[in-house]
């Protein structure tokens, strides 16, 4: 490729990048890791400027500043609740760039390319176009332009397979025609854009974290293939790193839902939920408590007052209601009242991996209070009170107790094992999976169905009132 001196510099930059990723092991170092990775990419771009003479440098600089300026501005403006949608959008931009670069490289008038470049280029176009259109659909779903529910077209799978076959045909034809025929390449782009759309519209709701991670991996691979077509090792390394990261997160999300990746991507569910009545009858229901006639809010206030330990379980509903600041305030109030408080985070709560952690961090919660599922589940038994905020499927005991529902076998947070449970959900409708939540029938559960933010506010007030009562204050 190039001189040994450049190889050393390239390796140094790659090493910097790897160090950056490696620093993501702890929240304290991750910030440095991010800046180091950004610095590595900056070095790589400067190297390109330094070593190569570019035609039209002024236009290139303007394009660079434009992209950077808009990118920075949007990143600073966006609301943390909208992070998943933003990441999907940026991801789409990356996919489009890879597609364009490979297209220009293949269709250009330059000397005929070696076979490796052509294969890489065709793959880069295909992956780039699929991730571009797929990400745009994901963004639209997450920002509410499209409905979040899965859309099934008539003959969806046949359509998707047909498009995929057409993509392969166009890809092979482009590869065989030298220089690659623009018509075939455009056909390939059109068909793969279609694949991205048809593929993504079928995925929705709680499966979005899987889709986002999957598209993330796809853009990485598009960048890597783009590196193959222009014979640039730096692009290949970066792309492969991203591809690996996206693949791992995709599989982690699937594991967290105990679902098969192929099924999630095919929009397949096990037969739809019918939690049979017999289930409720067979479960030994403890007798209702005598003070049932009081309002749920009063009972929740008492439960909070009596509790020594509290676990708060946030879900996507908290993000939708923008209730994270109020939830953290309630947590503070509970702590000040002398209770042990922590948060339990389900891996697929929210719309991208780790979504809840970012929101709670935004609300200034100490990250040591955030506990992952495996770590916190054994502790629910000894916990006096669990407060569920906008989460349904991830706390649905039917996942453990009932066979044959879409969530059967999905690991859940064991809130039903806590002595009392306060549920601050919008309504008693099932979550995205469509499985009724037996937790709502549990006599230990206190149900506050309303906007999560309103409910949490009322809980805060009720707690303050209850504290004042006992201390005999104003």
């Amino acid at each position: 490729m190039n001189a040994p001196g450049r190889l050393v510099i390239d390796l140094a930059i790659i090493l910097l990048l790897i160090v950056g990723v490696a620093l993501f092991r702890s929240p304290r170092r991750a910030r440095a890791g991010n800046l180091i990775a950004a610095f590595a990419l900056l070095c790589a771009a400067l190297m390109a400027f330094y070593h190569e003479r570019l035609f039209a440098p002024a236009a290139v600089l303007i394009a660079l500043s434009l992209g950077a300026g808009v990118g920075y501005w949007v990143a600073m403006k966006v609301d943390m609740v909208r992070i998943p949608s933003m990441v999907a959008f940026q991801n789409g931009a990356g996919g489009l760039a890879a597609c364009l670069v490979a297209f220009v490289e293949l269709s250009g008038e330059a000397a005929p390319l070696p076979a490796a470049n052509i294969v890489g280029g065709v793959l880069a176009i295909a992956f780039g176009a699929v991730t571009f259109s797929g990400s745009m659909i994901a963004t639209s779903k997450l920002s509410g332009i499209l409905r979040q529910t899965p859309v099934k077209l008539p003959g969806h799978s046949i359509l998707l397979s047909g498009l995929a076959v057409a993509a392969v045909v166009f890809g092979v034809m482009s590869g065989l025609s030298a220089p690659a025929s623009t018509v075939f390449l455009l056909g390939l782009i059109a068909v793969t854009l279609g694949v991205g759309v048809v593929f993504s519209v079928r995925i929705g709701g709680a499966d979005m974290p899987v889709l986002i991670s999957f598209l993330n991996a796809g853009t990485g691979l598009a960048a890597a293939f783009c590196g193959v077509v222009i014979q640039n090792r730096f692009l290949i390394v970066c792309g492969a790193l991203v591809g690996a990261s996206g693949s791992i997160l995709t599989l982690a999300m699937c594991r967290a839902m105990n679902r098969n990746l192929a099924k999630v991507l095919a929009g397949l569910d096990a037969r739809l939920a019918d939690v049979s009545e017999s289930f409720f009858h067979t479960e030994s229901v403890p007798p209702s408590e005598p003070d049932d006639d009081r309002s749920p809010l009063d009972r929740a206030a008492e439960a909070m007052k009596d509790a020594g330990s509290v676990i708060i379980v946030p879900g996507y509903g908290m993000a939708l209601a923008q209730a994270h600041f109020d939830v953290v305030k309630l947590a503070r109030d509970l702590e000040e009242a002398g209770k042990a408080v922590c948060f339990a985070i389900h891996p697929v709560a929210g719309r991208m991996p780790g979504h809840m952690n970012v929101l709670l961090a935004e609300a200034d919660v100490d990250y040591e209070m955030l506990h992952q599922m495996d770590e916190i589940n054994p502790r629910f038994k000894e916990t006096d009170l669990a407060i569920v905020v906008g989460a349904c499927d991830v706390v649905n005991p039917a996942a453990i107790n009932v066979e044959g529902t879409p969530i059967s076998g999905m690991p859940i947070l064991h809130v039903h094992e806590a002595s009392r449970v306060v549920v601050c959900n919008l309504d008693d409708k099932p979550g995205y999976s469509g499985v009724d939540n037996p937790l709502y029938q549990n006599p230990r559960a206190i149900l506050l169905f309303d906007d999560a933010r309103a409910s949490i506010g009322r809980l805060s007030e009720a707690l303050a009132a209850a504290q004042n009562d006992t201390t005999g204050g104003v």
């Binding site: 790897i18 992209g67 990143a75 970066c238 970012v358």
Partner: protein
Amino acid sequence: MVDLILLVSILLVSFAVGYFLILRVPPLLHTPLMSMTNAVSGVTVLGALLLFVTRRTSFEMALGLAAVICATFNVVGGFAITERMLKLFKRRERSP
């Protein structure tokens, strides 16, 4: 052919390195991680820049510039948003 083998090995090795690095990232940081790796995938900006090393038709230049804009949007926006997120993660001083 040698080139192809070399490139494919680079691809596989990087994938393996990435795999082991990412496995150690705690779920707490999965969103910033994804946002950061997303920024890294905007490395295609290099590819877009290198398109301008050879003389191009104005149509190709236009596509190339579009690629530069998209890729820098991805890179700069991705790193900036990750920095914003990571700044939020902090430990509170606690009274014992």
